[in-house]
Symmetry: C2
Subunit: 209 residues, 2 copies
DNA sequence: GGGTCTATTGGCCGATCGGACAATAGCGCG
DNA sequence: CGCGCTATTGTCCGATCGGCCAATAGACCC
């Protein structure tokens, strides 16, 4: 076994209890050191600048700047930064966004310790790791067509109770076009009506509470 | 200072990492001992039977039996059981359900360590504790009328894309009555149509992803 | 005992929806 | 340079929705 350098890890999560616990668990792991903790995106990036750790363990849901935004900004400044997302959400959209934003890996918080440690090491080595339960969800989502940006915009308005005519006015298009987008949504989300479309939107993570 | 007996605590959460960390943190706290951990409701209750701890720290969202159901079953068997809910959700409905099911307290996972420990002690002492951020959410929800059981049932069907006629058939009532329930939902949730009602349902925690 | 709330039902009607038909323009990919 | 996808718009139509009127019965609280 060659002498593997210790992995220096930056822990970012807005749950103090989880953070403390996690730091403790990880520091026990030989070859991993938690060099700092942050509870929001801004301080996470500031700490990265200062400490240049090997990897960031990043939560998706945080107050202020969320996980994705943090990830994007970090990668804009440090394109080689390795980041492992550690989150509660298995929503396909969240996973897709995270990976597109440059995440090196994505695991949910119910992973076992060994898996988490393995994932951290793999991400540091430059690999792409995705938790298996996450991967399953992702595969399920891929089956039916992807929702386009415009459709997502329309879904957001449907959610707010706007009629097709309203949506047309708000987006500067005809009612008929709005109708077409809603129709596409119903099809892609396999919904019978707009109410079910909204429900599916939440289920898939297209819409957030 | 009189000799206060050590609080024996049962930790229930389906996130192994959080559990390990939390156990560590709490065991550090003088006067608190984590006597066991469980990752689902059934084993939580079994452990309670065997160990008779002083308090349970219980997560809301778990695979299989969820937190509320676990709480209900536990309280049915041990009406005096002290349970502190520790969860990510601030949804008023979740809080209401938990308190109605006999929870002694309700705090979110982003509490600081000191607050958590204080909450544990208070619950053990028989008090009702509610995190302040939680309390705020709860107060906001109280403003508009409460949704009845029947209406909630209807909302669940609306979510699935059923028409009023469908709902009537499914519930063994007339279409007109289903319509009345939907109308009541629109009013209470301040929604313009069923799509918005579904959205509000998710926002309020009436509906789960 | 009276008031409040929920669940139930009826009819009427204009507004809205969702499906089916069909068509044009722009964009990225190979 | 076609091929496919997205965005756009149109018309017609039956189904559905949501608001309006009003009414009865049971449960629960003060």
């Amino acid at each position: 076994m060659p002498n593997i350098p210790t992995i220096r890890l930056l822990l970012v999560d807005d749950h103090p209890v989880l953070r403390a616990g996690l730091a403790n668990v990880l520091n026990y792991e030989p070859g991993i050191t938690v060099v700092a903790e942050a509870d929001d995106g801004a301080s996470a990036i500031a700490l990265w600048r200062r400490l240049r750790p090997d990897v960031m363990l990043l939560d998706l849901s945080m107050a202020g700047m969320d996980g994705i935004e943090t990830l994007e900004r970090l990668r804009a400044e440090f394109p080689d930064a390795r980041v492992l997302m550690l989150t509660s959400s298995e929503a396909p959209e969240d996973v897709r966004h995270a990976l597109k934003a440059g995440a090196g890996g994505y695991v949910t918080k119910n992973v076992r310790r060994a898996e988490l440690v393995a994932a951290i090491r793999e991400v540091c080595a430059g690999a792409r790791v995705i938790g298996e339960s996450v991967a399953r969800q992702l595969a399920a989502g891929e089956e039916s067509g992807a929702v386009s940006r415009r459709e997502l915009e329309v879904l957001g308005l449907v959610r707010q109770g706007f009629t097709n005519a309203d949506i047309g006015r708000l987006l500067g298009i005809s009612e008929r076009t709005a109708k077409a987008h809603v129709g596409a949504l119903l099809c892609k989300l396999q919904a019978a009506d707009r109410a079910e479309a909204v429900a599916r939107g939440f289920e898939r993570g297209l819409l957030k509470v």
